[in-house]
């Protein structure tokens, strides 16, 4: 008989070593196939003909216009949703009123709406055949197939991100600190800046991070309202689609690689934030 191995003395709630190996092996194989290979494929395809063509592809005027529009869109949508999230969280977490669960559900609603439907609703409201179509034409205001439509659709799909980070966080922190500040004569705004804001800043940053990734990467909703005008209403994901459909694969994957870098930076910052501030992680899917 062989000497008893460590495995025979394992803790009763621990799994045998072979089971661990099988589970970890299966998980790594699955994640490799589903997550890591696609990521690797983007960079491999982008660099298929070397670094120079890839860099050339992301420095064309159309690519630059797409990058700029993506930054502008996220630059409007993210602060907008941050202000909304702070307002909603202040009202919901610091006060009592009837219908609160319904309001929270309604704020979460955009998560369950297909991005294509998100784009469609703005076409129905602001499009030529839409509610305000005629009036917008009269005043020469273009929303659909123009930048405002892209921004609106992006705001819709990223609407709940920051609010749903802040609401549970501010609910958990309760109202005693704010009440103390107010009872000592602090104004509402002062209380917010000096008491609430420092308590929720990491949660806010966490929400901003996720919101920004989705805002820069949104495809379905933006695709419906954009009109795909090169150099004018093309965001980076839409530019990727156009290049891909033109069989310009190196260029398509080069722009895609830029978006992959954005995703990787987002994940690294998110992980760092979770390690430094374990409270920010609320769990649950987005």
């Amino acid at each position: 008989m062989a000497a008893p191995t460590k495995a025979q003395f394992r803790h009763p709630t621990d799994d045998p070593a072979w089971a661990k190996a099988v589970v970890i092996g299966l998980v790594l194989a699955f994640l490799g196939l589903v997550l890591i290979l696609p990521l690797a494929a983007v960079f491999a395809e982008a660099l298929r003909k070397g670094l120079a063509p890839a860099i050339e592809a992301i420095s064309t005027p159309d690519a630059w216009a797409a990058i700029k529009l993506t930054l502008i869109t996220a630059g409007i949508a993210v602060p907008f949703n941050a202000v909304f999230g702070l307002c909603a969280a202040w009202a919901i977490a610091k006060h009592e009123f009837p219908g609160k669960p319904l309001l929270i559900t309604l704020i979460d609603l955009p998560f369950s709406v297909s991005p294509v439907v998100a784009g469609l609703i703005y076409v129905l409201v602001f499009g030529l055949q839409g509610w305000f179509g005629d009036r917008l034409v009269d005043h020469d205001v273009k929303i659909i197939f123009a930048v405002p439509g892209i921004v609106l659709a992006t705001i819709f799909v990223t609407f709940p991100f920051i609010a749903r980070e802040l609401i549970p966080l501010m609910q958990e922190q309760g109202v005693s600190e704010e009440e103390a500040a107010v009872s000592m004569g602090a104004s509402g705004l002062y209380t917010f800046w000096r008491v609430t804001a420092p308590n929720v800043r990491w949660g806010l940053l966490y929400g901003v991070l996720l919101c920004n990734a989705r805002a820069m990467g949104e495809f379905g909703a933006v695709s419906v309202v954009s009109g795909h005008i090169r150099g004018l209403t093309n965001t980076m994901p839409l530019h990727v689609e156009i290049l891909y459909n033109e069989y310009d694969f190196v260029a398509a994957f080069a722009v895609a690689a830029l978006l992959c870098l954005l995703a990787i930076v987002t994940l690294v910052l998110k992980s760092l934030l979770e390690i430094a501030q374990p409270d920010v992680k609320r769990g649950g899917g987005h």
Partner: protein, 300 residues
């Protein structure tokens, strides 16, 4: 069972009010004015923005679709082509959610219970589908699983075609749905107390019995929630799917694509009719998810 736990403000407010409360003096709608200012302003801003950005535009779908006569609505929303698209969309989303349900449990188990090299990286990577633009995922998956792709070339000799058909749609939805299952299960699995497992083991249950009869049932509600979230997201998904789907009418055309096709033909009311069906399913899923969570709270 609930009474063993300290009452928090949340559990109290979540409980239905006893009916006797109706007989007593009416409680004011706003029980207690909070000392914290800004309620009117912030709630006003919240409701205004919510209405302008989300609720009023969403109502446009129902209003536009109601311009159709019932016959026209059925012809648009339930045509043969639309029915084929729903079958594909819901079928692929269901299969993908089941596969994610299985591998999601294994992934979460490995992340919560085991130590292995590269665990931090794996943990961060699970969220990749949240952070990676869907169009990028779409072209990457299409390239990988195409007949001459890195993975596809090994499947072709086996007679498996993994891209440009419903299998391709399912692959894209597996990618999209995975983090929903893992991130919903993770906090619940982390909070499972070791005592119950130790008790089971000390009473002679082997590890398999402990997992099957103690751990998995405790994960049930979270698993269902994650499954429903992944399914709901998959039903609406567009960006990652269209590149790998093939988009053949009646065969590999998803419902969101059908909306876009109707829009491109300026058939706005038809597009709204299909969108209304999809919105109906979304609301149903939202109700199901809320019901599962309300139900699971009774067992915590």
């Amino acid at each position: 069972m609930l009474d063993d736990h300290p009452m928090t403000a949340e559990t109290i407010s979540a409980r239905p009010r006893p009916s006797s409360a109706n007989r007593g003096p009416r409680r004011p709608l706003f029980r207690r004015r909070s000392a914290i200012p800004g309620f009117g302003l912030t709630l006003g801003v919240t409701l205004t923005i919510l209405s302008l950005i989300v609720l009023i535009p969403l109502s446009a779908v129902a209003i536009k679709a109601s311009a159709l006569s019932p016959g026209e609505f059925v012809a648009a929303a339930f045509s043969e082509r639309a029915l084929a698209a729903y079958r594909l969309t819901f079928g692929a989303a269901f299969v993908a959610a089941v596969i994610n349900g299985v591998f999601g449990v294994l992934t979460t188990w490995a992340l919560v219970r085991y130590e292995f090299p590269g665990k931090a990286v794996v943990n961060a990577l699970v969220d990749l589908p949240f952070a990676l633009p869907t169009a990028v995922a779409g072209i990457a998956l299409a390239t990988l699983y195409a007949p001459n792709g890195w993975v596809g070339q090994y499947l072709t000799p086996l007679g498996i075609k993994a891209a440009y058909n419903p299998i391709g749609v399912t692959i894209a939805l597996i990618f999209i749905g995975l983090p929903f299952v893992v991130r919903t299960l993770e906090p619940v699995m982390r909070d499972l107390s070791a005592d119950v497992e130790e008790a089971a083991a000390s009473l002679g249950a082997d590890r398999v019995a402990t997992i099957a009869r103690i751990i998995l049932p405790a994960l049930g509600p979270a698993w269902l929630t994650g499954f429903a979230l992944a399914f709901a997201r998959g039903v609406g998904e567009y960006g990652s799917v269209i590149f790998i789907a093939g988009n053949m009418p009646y065969k590999s055309e998803i419902a969101p694509l059908l909306i876009i096709i109707q829009l491109e033909q300026f058939e706005y009311a038809n597009a709204a009719a299909i969108a209304l069906v999809m919105l109906g399913v979304s609301f149903l899923m939202l109700l199901v998810i809320n019901a599962i969570q309300a139900w699971s709270r009774r067992f915590v």
